[in-house]
């Protein structure tokens, strides 16, 4: 199943394995608003209206439940289907589209009514972290969670929920998760799917039968997705819906199953593991909040003493602090927890851009990004850049973010006061380092050639920046300079240009024991200061002092799991939660799907992969009542990062917008929400409704069409890596849109002619490709047109054109602050757009007609 992803075009190298699977008999189904190069390779293609995937997946969940197609033994044993939820919980079906606990003023949920019955509420100390309506809820959810995208705190694990819940393994209790789930999705019928998604009942049935026939003891189904799912105001709930479906079908933790997040950029997975995000420390440890987590103990309190592997959080954090500050971090000084930076609210990238416009953000360092083209509401991004004191851009080519001042949004270049520093960057072939991509796989790359001229690696830049700052601060007695002066900052800079050693960085990430010897597993980490580790989930990547990520043993020379190609976190495990590939007693569900199992003779877990379970914990282990951390999990609790060891069909904590997914329309949609007419959009979505970022009212006649943005194989993101290269530029030389023959006829658009696409934010002109690959759908009894626009283009380089992201508004998912860039509404008209004041007038005219303020 490929949904929310254009696998073939955006991941052509990885797609070879899809083709290999197809050659070996796999059925490939592609569900997408457009007919893409992925669709061309699929056995079945199901067109869907952009932004309606939760309704479709919810329909599949309803099908599985009503037809009794769930993998019952797996569901009872390994999911929280049997858990009983508190009496206080009310579903969207009871409250017309809201769950219990919603606070309209703050547009956020108090999650206390979503708890398990019998489980203790989250640790009291955690409550101190929250203010406002969610103050009783613990820190896992609620307003703070929404403001600081707390959902990402659970990227590698679960949320704190207290002890284990009461269970009814007959799944009959009216308040057990299974029954709640059944009621919640009961209205997601094939008829509703047809009305909401534009998918015929026949096509729906084809998919439903295919996936249920291909799941169970003998067979597994995999779901691959990418930003077509994530970049929505309900993006996290898209993934949740698929998780629920896959858990019901028994497709998690088993070979050939799973939900595969395809990673499009080099090391995009790595950039959240060792994060470039404001609210995370390495390994998904939450960034402490100012005035809430005063010391190490209160920081860890919400998780210390919990059940599951997050119960070891103090060991992970102390090892990180030791990695940062070495001998300066001691038990007496709380391992310098007070030196960690603090956050005091929402500092996501979009908030920073608005801060530039408002004059509160004065400087900006942009490395390897091109927000002037690729950022949501790119026009607003450029406005922000123009209001800075200084801007540093590091890239291969002179991207639009460095040259925005040449064509300012308003006024003349000489009126832009921003001082721009452009620093050329080395490419991946010009430096050592690692990529962490799909499957959490780290692969090392070695420098092939020296970078040309002044081009330098990111490692060089940030190392020497730090070195120079430390030189300037040397001798300072100001306490605020101590955290910088005491940092461990020695990476073996060498050679003519003083290039630091990437291997030394890897060694720091991997961590070391008391005698400086490399650690081999995160289970060795301690909270007493005896171990150091830069990122606990990467511990072992340099086990035995060997760069495990650099291994390239050919597949034919090892077992089919290929553990000696690169290194996967954690612990070189290729499939997470793989204890679920065996039944409760530890036997494989079937010989065909054997993966890891309990060896009763040796009394150990064994198999083709590294077992994701304590190696010596037998299947019949039952924890004593006062056990904590992993000791509290039974021998048949495979989901070891979760406090209850189960896959969560219902999420009692950890989400800002509901314990179950709900179909809401995108923030901009021509259609009403058929399920909850009173709640058109995600009630907890984050919108910045202000001049320059206005939204279209639901069903607005001025903006009647659905627009979706996407990438082409020939270009990479904002184009800095591709639009300047003749060999790639000639393959897709200019910006275009794709429309169906029906829409072309309706709006008078001519193949290869110009079209102007208009939203409340901006208007762009692009060439028109009229193609039957775009098709109108019947939605809610009427025709719904979709327009496709690739978002690579900008004025610089050889392949040029207007930027599609100028059209977007900034609307965010409340869990992780990802922008809704895969669906919006617009108008389209033949011909070129005006410029300057006439363009502003055109936009104002549209806004007036739609009743939108300036």
């Amino acid at each position: 199943m490929i949904q929310g992803s254009n696998f073939a075009e955006c991941h052509p190298v990885g797609f070879q394995w899809v083709m290999e699977a197809k050659a070996r008999g796999a059925t490939v189904i592609h569900i997408d608003p457009r007919f893409t190069r992925t669709s061309a390779m699929a056995d079945h293609v199901v067109p869907i209206r952009a932004g309606s995937d939760v309704a479709f997946l919810g329909g599949l969940i309803n099908y599985v439940l009503t037809e009794g197609k769930e993998f019952r033994d797996y569901v009872v044993a390994y999911t929280n289907a049997a858990a009983i939820v508190t009496e206080d919980f009310q579903d969207t079906e009871d409250l017309g589209g809201l769950f219990s606990g919603f606070d309209a003023a703050s547009q956020s949920y108090d999650i206390s009514s979503w708890q398990y019955e019998g489980a203790q509420p989250a640790a009291a100390a955690a409550g101190q972290r929250d203010t406002g309506p969610a103050s009783q809820a613990g820190r896992h959810g609620g307003e703070t969670h929404r403001a600081s995208s707390g959902g990402q705190q659970y990227g590698s694990g679960g949320a704190s929920i207290g002890a284990k819940p009461n269970r009814d393994e007959t799944l009959q209790h009216p308040r057990c998760v299974f029954q709640i789930l059944t009621r919640h999705f009961a209205r997601y019928t094939p008829e509703l799917v047809e009305q909401v998604c534009g998918i015929s009942p026949e096509a729906f049935t084809t998919v439903a039968e295919a996936i249920t026939a291909n799941s169970g003891r003998e067979r597994t189904t995999a779901w691959a997705y990418a930003v077509g799912w994530t970049q929505h105001s309900t993006g996290v709930q898209y993934i949740r819906t698929a998780s629920i479906l896959q858990a019901l079908l028994g497709n998690i933790g088993r070979p050939g199953g799973g939900i595969l997040a395809l990673r499009g950029h080099a090391s995009i997975q790595g950039s959240t593991d060792i994060p470039t995000l404001f609210d995370l420390l390495p390994g998904y440890l939450p960034m402490p909040h100012a005035h809430r987590e005063q010391d190490l103990e209160t920081y860890c309190a919400a998780d210390a003493g919990q059940t599951g592997f997050w119960g070891n959080m103090p060991a992970y954090l102390v090892s990180l602090l030791k990695s940062y500050w070495g001998d300066a971090a001691t038990p007496e000084n709380d391992f310098r927890f007070d030196w960690l930076p603090r956050i005091d609210g929402d500092h996501n990238n979009f908030r920073s851009v608005l801060g530039m416009i408002d004059g509160t953000v004065r400087g900006y360092v942009v490395a390897g990004e091109n927000p002037a083209v690729g950022g949501a509401n790119a026009r607003l991004q450029r406005q922000g850049l123009a209001n800075l004191d200084w801007l540093v851009v590091r890239d291969f080519t002179c991207v639009e973010t460095a040259t925005f001042w040449q064509r300012p949004e308003d006024g003349r270049p000489e009126d832009v006061g921003t001082e721009v520093f452009f620093l050329p960057a080395a490419t991946h072939a010009e430096k050592d380092g690692s990529f962490t991509n799909t499957q959490r796989l780290l692969q090392w790359h070695h420098k092939a050639v020296e970078p040309p001229g002044d081009a330098r690696s990111d490692l060089w830049f940030f190392y020497h920046l730090g070195r120079r700052i430390r030189e300037k601060l040397a001798g300072s007695t100001d306490p605020r300079d101590r955290p910088i002066l005491e940092l461990t900052w020695d990476y073996g800079a060498h050679g003519l240009i003083g290039e630091p050693s990437a291997d030394a960085v890897l060694a720091e990430i991997n961590g070391a024991g008391p005698d400086g010897e490399p650690l081999s597993a995160y289970t060795q980490l301690r909270d007493d200061g005896s171990t150091r580790c830069g990122c606990w989930i990467y511990c072992g990547v340099r086990a035995d002092g060997v760069n495990q990520a650099a291994r390239r043993r050919p597949g034919a020379e090892q077992n089919w799991v290929a553990p000696e190609w690169g290194w996967a976190w954690p612990a070189n495990r290729r499939i997470l939660y793989n204890r679920a590939s065996a039944d409760r007693r530890g036997h494989p569900w079937s010989p065909r799907k054997a993966y890891v199992w309990w060896d009763a003779q040796a009394r150990r877990w064994t198999g083709h992969d590294v077992p994701d379970f304590e190696p010596g914990k037998p299947p019949d282990y039952r924890p004593p009542p006062d056990a904590t951390a992993q000791d509290a999990l039974s021998g048949d609790d495979p989901f070891i990062m979760q406090a209850d060891g189960k896959a969560w069909l219902f999420a009692p904590a950890g989400l800002a917008d509901g314990p179950l997914p709900v179909h809401y329309e995108p923030v901009e949609s021509p259609h009403r929400n058929l399920l909850y007419p009173g709640r058109p959009v995600n009630p907890a979505a984050i919108t910045y409704d202000r001049p320059g970022n206005r939204f279209h009212p639901p069903g607005s006649d001025a903006y009647p069409y659905v627009l979706t943005t996407y990438r082409l194989t020939e270009h990479q993101t904002g184009g800095g890596m591709t639009r300047h290269l003749p060999y790639l530029a000639e393959l897709q030389p200019e910006a275009f849109c794709e429309v169906s023959p029906a829409l072309a006829a309706e709006r008078g658009l001519r193949h290869l002619g110009w079209a102007t696409i208009v939203t409340a934010r901006s208007a762009i002109e692009v060439k028109v490709l009229v193609t039957a690959r775009m098709r109108p759908l019947r939605v809610d009894g009427r025709t719904s047109h979709q327009i496709g626009v690739p978002w690579h283009f900008g004025p610089n380089g050889l392949a040029t054109g207007d930027s599609a992201n100028d059209l977007l508004a900034i609307a965010l998912d409340p869990n992780v602050h990802i922008q809704e860039s895969k669906v919006l509404t617009c108008d389209i008209r033949p011909g070129r757009r005006p410029g300057g004041p006439e363009l502003r007038e055109l936009l104002a005219d549209y806004r007036r007609r739609a009743g939108i303020p300036e």
């Binding site: 669709s39 061309a40 079945h44």
Partner: protein, 278 residues
């Protein structure tokens, strides 16, 4: 002397279009390795010359902005949007195919080359020697596929060399090396033909009724191609000639008839002198 006489296998390409994902990695890898110039932009900003068919324009030929094989395009991925056969696969069918010089068994370009710039290698591939070609252009109309082309501003004829500089060292050609899905495979031609026959049988069994091999048959008009294809539809759909014939096929007969005619003319002239009244 042919490869079989030398005791070496004939090498070639099998391009299985049924697994082509249209990524164009073959086009780029070919240009990178062989230093083929890019096409110029509409403003002339590109470094190449601007008279190639594609230039740097949006062609509107689906996702194909290259247009055709030419002096600056030795691999060309065609994109064909057609009506679907099977409604389960959507309303449309999107065919993608990477085209290349066919390295014909009977290569007319080679036959007509007056300088010997075109030659048959020890791998039984057909290559232009850039330092010998004098740019006469005879080879251009001789090619039954319209592959070989004269580069504007350079004057010489260029086409796929089947990466002779790589293959003679035992390496795989750049395009086949870069292809992520093994749509382009390089190897001994007899092995490739076996592989292609098996693949065709599989596809036919799966219901691809129009699937066919193109250039596989040693008895066709060019004696079979060193670079042959598996197509999912008729060759015309992909812009390929359905029944290519080596353009020099009739040359011997033509020369024979010309010689006969010349002899007859000579005899007549002689007769006129000999037999005429004085």
């Amino acid at each position: 002397m042919s490869t079989s006489e030398l005791g070496m296998p004939r090498m070639g390409f099998f391009t299985d279009t049924s697994v082509c994902i249209g990524c164009k990695a073959c086009e780029v890898a070919c240009k990178e390795w062989n230093l083929v110039p890019p096409d110029a932009g509409p403003t002339g900003s590109g470094p190449g010359t601007d008279t190639d068919i594609a230039a740097m324009d949006l062609l509107g030929m689906s996702y194909d902005n290259t247009g055709s094989l030419g002096a600056n395009t030795w691999r060309h991925v065609a994109f064909i949007e057609a009506e679907a056969d099977d409604p389960r696969q959507g309303d449309v069918r999107w065919l993608m195919a990477s085209d290349v010089c066919k390295h014909c068994t009977h290569a007319a370009c080679l036959d007509v080359c007056p300088t010997g710039a075109l030659f048959r290698t020890e791998l039984d591939t057909v290559v232009v020697q850039e330092d010998v070609c004098n740019g006469c252009g005879y080879c251009v109309p001789a090619c039954p596929y319209g592959v070989i082309d004269v580069r504007p501003g350079d004057g010489r004829a260029w086409k796929c060399t089947l990466c002779y500089d790589r293959t003679k060292e035992g390496l795989t050609p750049a395009c086949a090396q870069a292809c992520p899905t093994e749509s382009i495979v390089y190897g001994p031609l007899d092995e490739l033909r076996e592989r292609a026959d098996l693949r065709l049988a599989t596809l036919r069994e799966a219901g691809e009724s129009r699937a066919q091999l193109y250039g596989r048959d040693p008895d066709d008009g060019v004696g079979g191609d060193g670079a042959f294809f598996l197509l999912l539809d008729e060759p015309e759909v992909y812009g390929l000639p359905p029944d290519p014939v080596v353009t020099t096929r009739d040359l011997p007969a033509m020369w024979g008839r010309a010689a006969l005619a010349a002899a007859g003319l000579a005899a007549a002239v002689a007769g006129a002198f000999l037999g005429g009244p004085r």
